[in-house]
Amino acid sequence: MSKNLSELSGRKGIEESLFDKMGQLAQERGTPSVEELDQLADEFLIGKANTFGTATFYDFLKPENQGKRAYVCNGTACVCAGTQDKVTKQLEKHLQPSEIGHMTCLGRCHENAAFNYNGKNFSGKALENLDQIIGKETELNSDTYHVKSGANEILTNPFSEVDQYYAPFIDALTKDSKSVLEEIKISNVRGRGGAGFPMGLKLEFCRNTENATKFIICNADEGDPGAYSDRYLLEQRPHSVLFGMLIAGYVTHASYGILYIRAEYPESIQIVQDAIDALKEKGLIGRNIQGTEFSFEFKIIQAQGSYICGEETALINSIEGQRPEVRVRPPFPAQQGLFNKPTIVNNVETLAALHHIISNGGSAWKAIGTERSSGTKLVSLDSFFNKPGIYEVDMGTPLATVFNEFGGGFKSEVKAVQIGGPLGGLVPAHKIDALTLDFESFANEGFLLGHASVVCVPQDFPIIQFIEHLFDFASYESCGKCFPCRLGTKRGQEMASQAMNSDYKIDRELFHDLLTTLEEGSLCAHGGGIPLPVRNALEYFDDELKQYFNS
């Protein structure tokens, strides 16, 4: 975090984004050249080390990415499904090994065997048709998954058409923005990204910070392996997200909306851009929308491959073209965020909820779900379910109902499910019945609702390997700023790996010290969160794990 770099990057505004320019420079060869980075540094007055430092942080900008043509998904769902060795082998029949890289979760957890080739994502049976994919223009990148809602069809409600859909927005523009914000507060909609912070409070915080320039950022960096509900919304309901951002802008007096969408979702980027263009055509964005004082523009920033960018301050640094290292708080983004200006960062699904709230009033949303967890929630189920897909259920719905009635039960026996991404809890099969789908139930049982993605751990998958995979992921994706996470995740991975592959026994006290150090010492929820599933594993799978530990 450098205040100076935020200022200097901000001088050119979001339209001339430093980070965007780096992405464009990488398009041809997979990485910008040092000369190009030096030039950018000069243009932005930020020093060569900074453009170089930023580029080397990202999977799709760093020099090692040069010449990569295909990427094999190594997200948790695909790893657990055991499909990926085959994907690599098949691809190697067509491509040099050096041309094949990795992407962590393409959001194809319902089909697995996922890979990215030439800017498109493939999964499931596509692998059998590589002849029609490699070196060809193809439409084989489509996928199918179930989508269904429970009692309340809100986020999954079919899209009508632009004019009708945005009528509540036009209507809101005629109202005092304070009263619009009031509805959001009444709804008690909580952030869907994982932390569950009340959205209305955050918006109010930003609204009350005086500044001529403010930003609304949609965090569409759905990095949690196993989660693809944001992808669903971006690709199937893009207007619900844009609508939410317009409302958020209106109530905070922000005039810029930025969608930070992960590069692993190339289709999402295109679809959202088309939706923005449609709004432009209809005069629903731009200067003085519908003759009011309110102006709003959208900009998509394509991420470049880094899980930590889902953390809001890292995401802000990323947009600025700084290294996406987590910032200290305070200042909070709502006070000093992008380019040091007040900034709202909200998850895709949170923003998508606003259409219902604005159309039907905050109390309509509040009436759904539980007392403290209001509204509906999207759940993504992976391919271990008979009916993998995206399900919209009321908060408080029993987890067993989601799994059995919506997901159609497991295809084969699973020993645990990890819910809420790699930092989410590891729920052993026997605890499923104890949980209802809301923030409180999960917290009370020692788990985490998170983004409500579900990844199954099959019966034959060794838990020590699962732990090693979690640490490996955490270490690989650590921004490296705070000592506990940078060093601790690596040491955790090494211990698990050595225990798994040699007669090394993990010292139990040391291991617990490590987990406590990560939990208490880490700067953000990345290092701070990884101990949760590991502790769950230690608690529920002690029999299986004790052979790897001394005493």
Partner: protein, 909 residues
């Protein structure tokens, strides 16, 4: 009173303070360990070692928080050493040690390593983790004359990166890669030498281990003594902590408690000190006989000088003798030198280096405000909204102030205006840059005032209550010819208008100016316009405003304060006034002369006319640095006795008849006065090298030899003499100077002054005095035949004639003067980068290597004069500021062509 608790003890909290700052205030610096926090950097939150347990009630449920970036709040209970917090710290440090070479005994910082201290404090006894990946294989970077790195010792605390960003603003350092693989980089992962590093050393000072250090190992030297003194280079006046052992200087660090430089300094202050015991130091007095210097004893040389001066005084009168003193001397030495010239010789022929730099500042500001010195302090940057930098390149010439200005300019809410022909470093970051043609300052400033008046932005109430002459002035300003000005300055009037409005509209605006203002034929007038601009907008007399000359040399302010000027005695008193001289007569015990003496250029003219018989020059290389080199040499050759008191055999010393080996700043005590009127104590660090003497003592010896009883040189007693005669030094005593000095005027009770002209000006009201722009005679006469304008500048690495810096590692960083030339002009003359360009002026020719850059506009060239092999001043001419006689270094009519380097050296010229 708001209260929070540390281990259940109540303490008052300050608004906005972090828990760590709160704890430090009551429990001391080291009570809570930390690795990534540093005194001059923003909280960063990387190491987490400073974690504390925080509860909302006494012994309540605690949450672990990093104290460095968590604000303390009322009613919090902070526990600094609970079992869990202690364990957490220990476990974090244990993790650090899994990727750190445990070679403490042979490590550069052994015994002075923050990691070592913290490891000891948290009680690490072993590292329990199995062997794993590490970065111990990183190799050292020894590419640079000063900076070194050994990243195997790096703990990724980012202190170096942050120092480079937040302190110096250079952005040379960052991190590459991510997570466990992240690694400190210089530039695009280069060596220090190949990066854009400016060698300020802030990173080395910030590093808690030996990952980044310097060749002097300044963090870790085992010194027997540390002496705090003041830098000898620029007018910023950095405080330096000089470490010595057995009389040898080991290294220099910047103290964090220095008000001037807050733990920062530049490569000159920090690293360029090795000239002091360079083998080329003069080690004996010498008399030139039959064209060769012969070493003689001090006794012999004193007798020789005293006899000669006595004879000249008797035969040709006192006015046949002149003295030039300089910023190489302390205030006390400058005072002595002018006293010698006035009281012992009996002439006012005393002048100093201020003549060639800021004499127009002193004169211009005296005319408008009554006092010829900075109105405010650099610290006021914290309270200003707008800076206007005119004719100054502070990031090179005043690096620590330059870094502060750059930090200011980088913040988008701030307004920064740069008026400079070159796109300097600060101009690149500025909100407004006016790239005017050299020699058109007055025109542009008048145009700014025109727009301020016509836009209704003049501060009528300030003008009404505190100034005089505005009505007439306004009439003149409104009558200026905008078309003409736009034409001659070469800048779109709208750019000037926007800048003018920005300056006038800012609640507080500060101006800073340098030699690009003064070294012009209209230098004094430009200073007056800058001062009037401040009057016009009411930017005088409070914090965050004012007119702030960036005084060039360390003690150029002091030398003038002490009376090293031919028209004013010590304390700026007019020596033509009998009542003033009565005071001096009484004080010096002799009758002082009342006729204005020679300014430096007039000394040369007098020499050429045969009127000057003797000239004593202390610490100023007039041959290399004064304009029109050949004329200066002729003048010296025409003077019977030229005494040069120096450290080295400079170009001037070579022309001398007598050479006296003086002392460097590290070898003497006294005071220097920086650009913000701050008188600071220079404390002797080492004895003068064998054969050399403290300059003040040399003057005293000759005074005595010539029959004037003057006690031996001693800073303390000299100050006690000065504070009786210089009114604004009234309260300055050696003992009161303390660590951070005092800003004059200092009242008898020791109260000093940060801001001048708060209630009224020394002359009552501020004066509006209009002057119209006039083309310099240099161009009127020569522009037709010499179509390019050569201007001169400074480089960060070298200081003035380079006598000191060329004898340090700086020489390895910048080896040559070079010529900045616009790509268009280079193309027209088929000059490639690095090729020699022959520059010819009406005075002479030199060859300089080209550096093609768009930093200068087409038609404008710029170069330095740090190197005697080039002798740029062969080109500069005789035009001087019409009022203060400061030479016009900034506008030289030249023509250019590609060359083979024939005119490279003086000998060949």
């Amino acid at each position: 009173m708001k209260t929070a608790y540390i281990n259940n003890e109540p303490h008052e909290i300050k608004d906005g303070e972090t828990m760590l700052a709160f704890i430090k205030r009551f429990k001391g610096e080291k009570h809570v360990p930390t690795l990534c926090d540093a005194p001059n950097l923003d909280p960063f939150g990387a190491c987490r070692v400073c974690s504390v347990a925080v509860a909302l009630e006494e012994d309540g449920k605690t949450k672990t928080m990093a104290s460095c970036h968590s604000p303390v709040a009322e009613g919090q209970y902070i526990y600094t050493d609970t079992a869990s917090v202690k364990k957490l710290r220990k476990n974090i440090v244990e993790l650090v040690l899994t990727d750190h070479p445990l070679d403490c005994l042979t490590c550069e910082v052994n015994g002075n390593c923050e990691l070592q201290d913290v490891a000891a404090q948290v009680g690490i006894r072993d590292v329990r983790y199995p062997a794993g990946a590490n970065h111990l294989h990183y190799t050292k970077d020894m590419s640079h004359p000063y900076m070194t790195s050994d990243l195997s010792k790096c703990i990724n605390c980012y202190r170096c990166v942050r120092a480079c960003d937040e302190v110096q603003g250079e952005f040379v350092l960052s991190m590459s890669g991510r997570g466990f693989d992240s690694k400190i980089i210089k530039g695009s992962d280069n060596t220090f030498m190949d990066s854009d590093c400016v060698s300020c050393g802030a990173c080395a000072q910030a590093c808690p281990t030996s990952a980044i250090s310097d060749v002097f190992q300044s963090k870790s030297v085992v010194e027997s003594e540390v002496t705090r003194t003041i830098c000898t280079y620029c007018g910023v006046g950095c405080n330096l902590d000089v470490s010595t052992s057995s009389g040898e200087i080991l290294s220099i660090q910047a103290p964090y408690d220095a008000e001037v430089n807050q733990g920062h300094t530049c490569l000159k202050g920090r690293y360029a000190f090795k000239f002091y015991d360079h083998p080329e130091r003069l080690d004996s007095p010498m008399i030139k006989r039959n064209g060769t210097f012969e070493k003689v004893s001090w006794e012999e040389v004193y007798t020789y000088i005293a006899d000669k001066l006595g004879t000249f005084k008797k035969e040709f009168g006192p006015d046949s003798i002149a003295g030039i003193s300089s910023a190489r001397c302390t205030n006390e030495e400058n005072y002595l030198m002018q006293k010698f010239i006035r009281a012992v010789i009996g002439t006012n022929n005393i002048d100093g280096c201020a003549r060639v730099c800021h004499s127009p500042t002193a004169l211009g500001m005296q005319q408008t405000f009554g006092t010829g010195a900075a109105t405010n302090s650099i610290d006021d940057l914290k309270d200003t909204n707008c800076i206007m930098v005119i004719g100054a390149n502070p990031t090179d010439a005043h690096p620590v102030t330059g870094a502060k200005l750059k930090q200011f300019a980088m913040k988008t809410g701030n307004v920064s205006i740069v008026i400079d022909p070159r796109r300097t470093e600060i101009a690149r970051y500025a909100t407004h840059h006016i790239p005017l043609r050299p020699g058109t300052n007055v025109a542009v400033l008048n145009m700014m005032m025109y727009y301020i008046i016509t836009e209704g932005l003049a501060d009528e109430s300030f003008i009404g209550s505190r100034t005089e002459g505005f009505d007439e002035y306004k009439k003149e300003i409104l009558a200026i010819d905008l078309d003409q000005i736009e034409g001659i300055c070469g800048v779109d009037r709208n750019i000037i208008k926007e800048a003018a409005i920005a300056y006038a509209a800012a609640p507080n605006a500060m101006s800073f100016h340098g030699l690009g203002v003064t070294e012009h034929s209209q230098g004094t007038f430009t200073v007056m316009q800058i001062a009037d601009l401040a009057l016009l907008t009411g930017n005088i007399g409070r914090r965050g405003v004012g007119v702030n000359p960036l005084r060039g040399q360390n003690n150029v302010q002091g030398s003038a304060d002490m009376g090293v000027q031919p028209h004013q005695g010590a304390g700026y008193m007019d020596i033509t006034k009998p009542e003033v001289n009565l005071q001096y007569n009484k004080f010096y015990g002799v009758e002082v002369p009342s006729a204005i003496g020679y300014k430096i250029p007039e000394m040369f003219d007098a020499a050429l006319e045969g009127k000057l018989k003797a000239l004593w020059v202390i610490g100023e290389d007039i041959v290399q640095t004064d304009p029109n080199t050949q004329k200066v040499i002729k003048a010296l050759n025409n003077t019977d006795l030229v005494i040069v008191q120096e450290l080295f055999m400079t170009e001037t010393a070579k022309q001398a008849d007598v050479v006296l080996p003086g002392a460097s700043f590290l070898e003497k005590s006294g005071t220097f006065t920086n650009g913000e009127r701050r008188v600071q104590a220079v404390r002797q660090v080492v004895e003068p090298v064998v054969g050399a003497k403290v300059d003040g003592q040399i003057i005293v010896d000759i005074m005595n030899k010539m029959g004037y009883a003057q006690p031996d040189y001693d800073a303390k007693s000299m100050l006690d003499e000065i504070n009786q005669i210089v009114p604004f030094f009234a309260g300055i005593t050696w003992d009161r100077l303390g660590k951070n000095g005092l800003q004059w005027p200092v009242a008898k009770d020791g109260t000093d002054t940060q801001i001048l002209h708060k209630e009224e000006f020394k002359i009552g009201k501020g004066q509006f005095i209009f002057n119209n722009w006039r083309e310099t005679e240099e161009l009127v006469e020569h522009a037709k035949d010499y179509p390019y304008i050569l201007t001169t500048n400074r480089e960060l690495e070298h200081y003035n004639c380079g006598a000191m810096t060329r004898r340090t590692g700086n020489e390895l960083i910048l080896k040559d003067d070079y010529l900045m030339i616009n790509p268009e002009d280079a193309k027209e003359h088929m000059i490639k980068d690095g090729e020699f360009v022959c520059i010819e002026s009406p005075r002479g020719k030199v060859d300089v290597k080209a550096r093609i850059t768009d930093e200068v506009k087409s038609g404008i060239l710029s170069t330095t004069f740090h190197f005697p092999d080039i002798m740029i001043n062969n080109l500069t001419g005789d035009i001087h500021d019409s009022e203060a006689k400061c030479p016009e270094y900034k506008v030289v009519a030249v023509r250019i062509r590609k060359s083979k380097g024939k005119y490279k050296t003086l000998a060949e010229a």
